[in-house]
Amino acid sequence: MSNQNHRNRYRWRILIGQIVLLIACLGIIEYLVRAEIVGSLYLSKPTQVIEEIYKLFSNGEIFHHLAVTLKEFAAGYLLSAFAGVATGLLLVLIPHAEVFFRPFLSALLAIPKVTIIPLLMLWLGIGLSHKVAIVFLFCFFTIAFNTITGIKQTAEAHLKVARVFEASKLQTVMKVILPSAAPTIFVSLRVSAATGLVGALFGEMVASKDGLGNLLVQATSLYDTAKAFAIITIVTVISVLIIAVIDLLEKRIVLKWKSS
């Protein structure tokens, strides 16, 4: 009991220390800009950034762009998740497929995806499909490769049990192979959530009519540094939220049976 108390007190102390450090950093920046040691073109007062965030929400400007970016991300991400897992499954389950296709997949994986963005523009324009394609490319390969790794780790003994019970191929996939690959697949889903969002934003920054990336480029090209920081803050919060959702899913699906 006292041990528990001790640990709680420890946790509180750490948390208070962290908050103090954060406030101190923000305070220093506030001071530097206010005292004009650093020009307001380069840095913004945290108070002004907060004001900008409030403005973005109160005049409703942000909502349209937020919706555009989230739509691009969600479509690309879900598409790559399904396609990635399906590709991984097919490559392992179809005899020789993985050996045959692996060099092609590795080559595609090795292409720095950002270099294709201009070409994608040529093929798909600068609208939704362009960004969805970018998010897809950013996520797909990681998910496919992790699925392959996860499936290969399926214990031989677990497959034997399925064979003894005369499980069909589909049952074996759905009830043995996928559940045992789930933890490995989730690792890639978490990583891809972050890179996928980066893909959507980057695509918007390169060529777009709207979206948060577009808004950010607009702000910086007008030297509206405070607004740029406001958008960066909002994007960061979104990224954290998306990963929190994936973590929650992982907890519901995987972690309850994994020994801690």
């Binding site: 214990a155 003994a157 677990h158 034997k160 049990v161 399925a162 064979r163 003894v164 019970f165 005369e166 499980a167 069909s168 049952q171 009830k175 043995v176 559940p179 045992s180 789930a182 995987v254 309850k256 049976w257 994994k258 020994s259």
Partner: protein, 257 residues
């Protein structure tokens, strides 16, 4: 009545230097019999069990069961694995339910069977635990319940109690005998423990290694329940140890020549 009929079964694993794991095994396993298969590691006893389960096909010879030649696994033969191989992502209940689920048995019927066999192996109350919460002995109990839930005619057991501590092991042996008597299944029990093989089995088949072949079959007196210190059982144990020793010394002789 005849359960298994093993006719001239040999197993050779290919590769650069083919190794013969089993050599010309001929054996009949009676319906309802408790048969122990005993042998040192490397004698192919697990391979023989996997052949009976239909997980492997012998390179030559054939196995018949209930008047039919074996071609693969079948629900009439339940298997209990050495490592219980429970699915860690399923609760105990869902693990035991597995075979019924694969067969598409209705949910209410499944619930009845699962509950019955969980009670039988002494795991009621642990339905909703995940395997990593269970001790080794409890995992193996769940493994037995999973095999029984499908209501097989035969239970094929591959060193099921090899990984649990000695006291738990004795308890599991007693409980297994009770289950066997209550359920009237044929049991084929693979082990490398002489006292376990004798205490459990109606007959003990002693295999000798490299390649695995039947060295001798020991008939254990029928009367049950048995006592572990029964003089007759101890005598058979001694006979088996003597037979094993003989194999060893003749092996050594071959090496020195």
């Amino acid at each position: 009545m005849e359960g298994f009929s093993i006719r001239g079964v040999s197993m050779v694993y290919g590769g650069a230097t083919p190794t013969e794991t089993l050599s010309d095994i001929n054996l009949t396993i009676e319906d309802g019999e408790f048969l122990s298969i005993l042998g040192p590691s490397g004698c192919g006893k697990s391979t023989l069990l996997e052949i009976l389960a239909g997980l492997q096909l012998p390179t030559s010879g054939e196995v018949w069961f209930g008047g039919k030649k074996l071609k693969g696994p079948g629900i009439e033969r339940g298997v209990v694995f050495q490592d219980p191989s429970l699915y860690p992502w399923r609760t105990v209940y869902k693990n035991v339910e597995l075979g019924l689920e694969f067969r598409g048995v209705a949910k209410s019927e499944r619930r009845e069977a699962v509950q019955r066999y969980l009670d039988l192996v002494g795991l009621s109350g642990f339905e909703h635990k995940y395997p990593h919460h269970l001790s080794g002995g409890m995992k193996q109990r769940a493994g037995i319940a999973r095999a029984l839930a499908n209501n097989p005619e035969v239970l094929l057991m591959d060193e099921p109690f090899g990984a649990v501590d000695h006291l738990t092991r004795l308890q599991l042996q007693d409980d297994l005998l009770n289950i066997w008597e209550a359920e009237k299944k044929t049991v084929v029990f693979v082990t490398h423990d002489v006292s376990e093989a004798v205490f459990l089995g109606d007959r003990v088949v002693l295999l000798s290694p490299r390649p695995g072949r039947i060295n001798q079959i020991f008939q254990v007196p029928k009367h049950r329940p048995r006592k572990r210190d029964d003089i007759e059982l101890l005598k058979i144990q001694n006979d088996i140890y003597a037979a094993i020793h003989e194999v060893k010394s003749s092996d050594n002789l071959e090496f020195t020549i």
